[in-house]
């Protein structure tokens, strides 16, 4: 579980998070949505301890993450842009992450699922964007951690890989995990998400399931409901 209380973060003059309160206690898939620059990635990076908040509390599995790094063993994180060290091959990267985590991973299954075998001994700098994203997915999902954070998991994936991704997410959900997803593809969000967390100007503007969102905005279409949240604020 993740508990966030009054989280503030500014980068210079730019206030990104302005008092985020978020409680994720139940299992399931949570979609973190919001317009560009609303603080989605900053929030995720704060949970991971990559961004250090100015103020506020952040607990993962009831432990404060301040000055703590062991809790990251509970989290699998898929970064937004799959930039990897260029000198390594795919195989080396996978074994390196396994070594760093000190855990065996289910990489074989995922590699054959995404048909990555021909790329295993290629250098990461020679891979296409979509293949990199597949490697990224293998690295993230090969461990069995209670919390999964996926930042734009669909980017660059072909339709078959996308189907596999959705299946994988469903399998992980069935294991009773907390899964956080950010995405700009609304149809994907509508299909997989149990709950929506909508960030606007550094605060949680809406939290609830898709039906609640539709009722609140009086829209029957999910994409329009999200758009409605945005225009409502602008008006």
């Amino acid at each position: 579980m993740i508990k966030i209380e009054q989280l503030y973060k500014r980068f210079g003059k730019n206030k990104v998070l302005k008092g985020v309160d978020l409680d994720i206690t139940s299992k399931g898939i949570f979609a973190i949505l919001g317009p560009n620059g609303s603080g989605k990635t900053t929030l995720i990076k704060a949970i991971l301890g990559m961004v250090i908040p100015d103020k506020g509390k952040l607990l993962v599995e009831d432990v404060s993450i301040k000055r703590n790094w062991k809790y990251r063993d509970q989290i699998d994180y898929l970064p937004q842009i799959a930039n990897f060290p260029a000198n390594l091959t795919v195989k080396e990267l996978i074994s390196m992450i396994k070594d760093l985590r000190n855990r065996p991973g289910e990489d074989k299954k995922l590699i054959s699922l995404f048909k990555l075998e021909p790329f295993l001994s290629k250098k990461l700098s020679h891979l296409s964007g979509g293949t990199k994203q597949k490697v990224n997915l293998v690295l993230t999902l090969m461990f069995d951690s209670p919390i999964i954070i996926l930042d734009e998991p669909t980017s660059g994936l072909d339709p078959i890989a996308l189907i596999h991704l959705k299946e994988l997410i469903a399998v992980e959900k069935a294991k009773g995990k907390i899964i956080l997803i950010t995405s700009h593809i609304m149809s994907f969000v509508e299909e997989v998400a149990d709950e929506i967390v909508f960030l606007l100007e550094g605060k949680v503007y809406f939290k609830g399931n898709i039906d609640a969102l539709k009722t609140q905005t009086k829209e029957s279409n999910f994409e329009r409901a999200i758009a409605n949240l945005l225009t409502y604020e602008d008006a």
């Binding site: 980068f11 990076k45 991971l48 301890g49 990559m50 961004v51 250090i52 000055r67 790094w69 062991k70 809790y71 990251r72 063993d73 989290i75 994180y77 970064p79 930039n83 990897f84 060290p85 000198n87 390594l88 390196m96 992450i97 070594d99 760093l100 985590r101």
Partner: protein, 260 residues
């Protein structure tokens, strides 16, 4: 931390630049020894090259490695690894691989030449030790610069300025101050100022070991009196160590507070 060190080290060992650096020293050592035929002179020439080149390569490599491995760092930051061990591990990876290039690159030609039978072995060892110290110092300073500057161009400029200041400008200022204050006794001042620049400190250490301090005139005598003693040697080695420890501590401190 050891794991990070291992990966950074092997990553670097496989890169082309490590080999270029190694080959450069191999070539330099061979040329100096086999065309010169005078071991003592070869050591002096080497000193002059090492003392300016090692800091330059250390700073540039340090800054370059930090910026180049940004993605790697971000990947590591999301793993259950302590922040400070990521950065200290990477730093040691760079510094150790550079020192290794230096030691192997110069060691092989000297060993072939039959250094182990000569009396100059201690001079040569001191040369390698100061070279390793300078690598550790300037790579640490470079990592500090890179940690404080997100902008690559700025980081590189500061790194080069640092080198220029330490290797060239500092000496100029030092000389000017000696000329301006010539009517005062300057022994303590000049020894003190030397301590604040690791390049000068290494140079003087080696020069004194080579017994050519007579070239330095009165100052040389003062230095000889100070550094020639066991106390002077211990002090200069500790000052060099301090030059390593303080920047490394700052890497530790800064890396804990930085956002990625």
């Amino acid at each position: 931390m050891l794991k990070i060190l291992k990966y950074s080290f092997f990553d670097l060992i496989r890169s082309r630049w490590s080999y270029v650096y190694l080959l450069f020293y191999l070539l330099l050592g061979c040329v100096l020894l086999f065309l010169n035929n005078d071991l003592s002179k070869a050591v002096i020439t080497l000193m002059n090259i090492i003392i300016t080149l090692v800091p330059l390569i250390g700073t540039i490599f340090g800054v370059m490695y930090y910026y180049n491995s940004k993605e790697f760092t971000e990947l590591l930051l999301a793993q259950p690894v302590k922040r400070s061990s990521i950065f200290i591990g990477q730093y040691l990876g760079v510094a150790l691989s550079l020192s290794m290039s230096l030691i192997i690159g110069l060691g092989i030609p000297f060993a072939l030449y039959g250094l182990f039978q000569s009396n100059e072995i201690w001079d040569f060892l001191l040369l390698l030790v100061t070279g390793a110290f300078l690598t550790l110092i300037f790579t640490a300073l470079a990592f500090n610069i890179a940690l404080y500057n997100e902008n690559k161009i700025k980081g590189f400029s500061y790194a080069i300025l640092l080198w220029l200041f330490m290797a060239v400008i500092y000496d100029g200022l030092f000389l000017m101050s000696l000329i301006l204050l010539e009517s005062y006794p300057l022994d303590t001042l000049s020894i003190g100022t030397t301590m604040f620049n690791p390049i000068d400190l290494s140079r003087i250490l080696i020069l004194l070991k080579l017994d050519i301090s007579a070239l330095l005139g009165y100052t040389g005598a003062v230095f000889q009196k100070f550094f020639g003693t066991g106390f002077g040697l211990v002090l200069s080695i500790s000052v060099l160590s301090l030059w390593v420890i303080l920047p490394v501590l700052n890497i530790y401190r800064k890396s804990r507070k930085k956002d990625f």
